[in-house]
Amino acid sequence: MESQYAEKIRHIVVQHGRLAVPAERLAEDTDLYKAGLTSLATVGLMLALEEQFNVEFTDDMLGRQTFGTIGSIAQAVAKLVPK
């Protein structure tokens, strides 16, 4: 279910995450914070995700539990996208 989003998310993470790791090395469970993601950089990431998927993240989603990996972002997006 979530994996349909994973490729688009990976693309957005590479574009907006300001990571020091090349895209091909980002698995769905790669720790994005260890790859150089900062909490400030999650803002750009979130805005781009909102635009791409036409969703709005809630305040309580703006943390490591959401942005920790591409997989966790995909889960969050799946929750927000209207069924």
């Binding site: 914070y33 150089g36 909490s39 400030l40 805005l47 993240f57 305040d59 703006l62």
Partner: protein
Amino acid sequence: MPDGLLESVRKIGEEVVRPAADDVDREARFPAEAFAALKSAQALSAYVPRELGGAGLAIGEVARLCETLGHYDGSVAMIYAMHSIQVACIVHHARDTAYFRRYLAEVAERQLLMASATTEVGTGGDLRSSVCAIELAGGRFTLAKKAPVISYGREADDLLITCRRDAASPAADQVLVLARRAECGLEEISGWDTLGFRGTCSSGFAVSARGSAEQVLPAPFADILSRTMHPVSHILWSSLWLGIATDAVQRAHAFVRAQARRTPGVPPPSALRLAEVDTVLQTMRSNIAAALHRYERVLAGEAAQESGFRFAIDINNLKLASSTLVVDIVGRALLVCGIEGYRNGSKHSLCRHLRDAYGAALMVNNDRIAGHNATMLLAQREGAKDG
């Protein structure tokens, strides 16, 4: 609080800190007499838990101590605040390891003074990125860092240093490492001859440290920063700036009272300005109290820190407001005291206060902080509210 400690610090302020303040400022020298006295009062372990030999104060009580010292000398208060921030990082994030429990007990036992090396040549003042990386091998570490500013680096017993987790880590994947003085080389790369906070002796150093792998704090620096270093820094700094501002207003107050005695029945024109500055001082004080209350609730687990960026934004707002208000307040007090305030060495002098006050906006530059808030506000859905 053990009123004992607050009372001792007040007494040290009157008897040791204030008399030396002008000399410390003029010579840009470390306030050695102040710290000898603070150590004998066991003030350097104020935030170390009682079971490890400290006073086990709450963060609000440490803030009171910073404010109190700020009345007497901004540099002494700043050094005390910075030391307390380092202690808080260890107490909150490393006290469960055997090494750091022993270390905290040693801080209490020997009244060790801790300093911080977070900024680095080449990162443009961004705490959240490091060039240097720790190298671990066989349970030991080595680390080399060029720090443009290490306050009281020369006089500190130990240092907390940020660096990348390992040589392959990106700039933002950082850890915090304790470097013990005996295993740490310091070569001065820049001096400290500044407008204010001259006694903090914040020279730049090339640091080369080694030690045991246990000296790496277990939590990622990002967590230590967001949960402790960021809020505690801005609360303690604001508190000592409040001390500077309060002393400035007290000097203005004494000046107005002396004027008023000469014309009983007719309040001097400066009395109105005193009333105005008193209003601003109350605003500054209330702001700090509110942030402190909020943070104490976060520490007690009664309020969440993690929901969005609101807490971080509000802590930044505290810093932006206090650092601006301290300049405003000292400037207003100067207008009240007039030429007597402008004169070095007079009992109403506000020269050192004003020079110190201008430093507040620069230590972590307000423009950088406002920029962070601008970014974080983009992600924020709800307006300001008490977390």
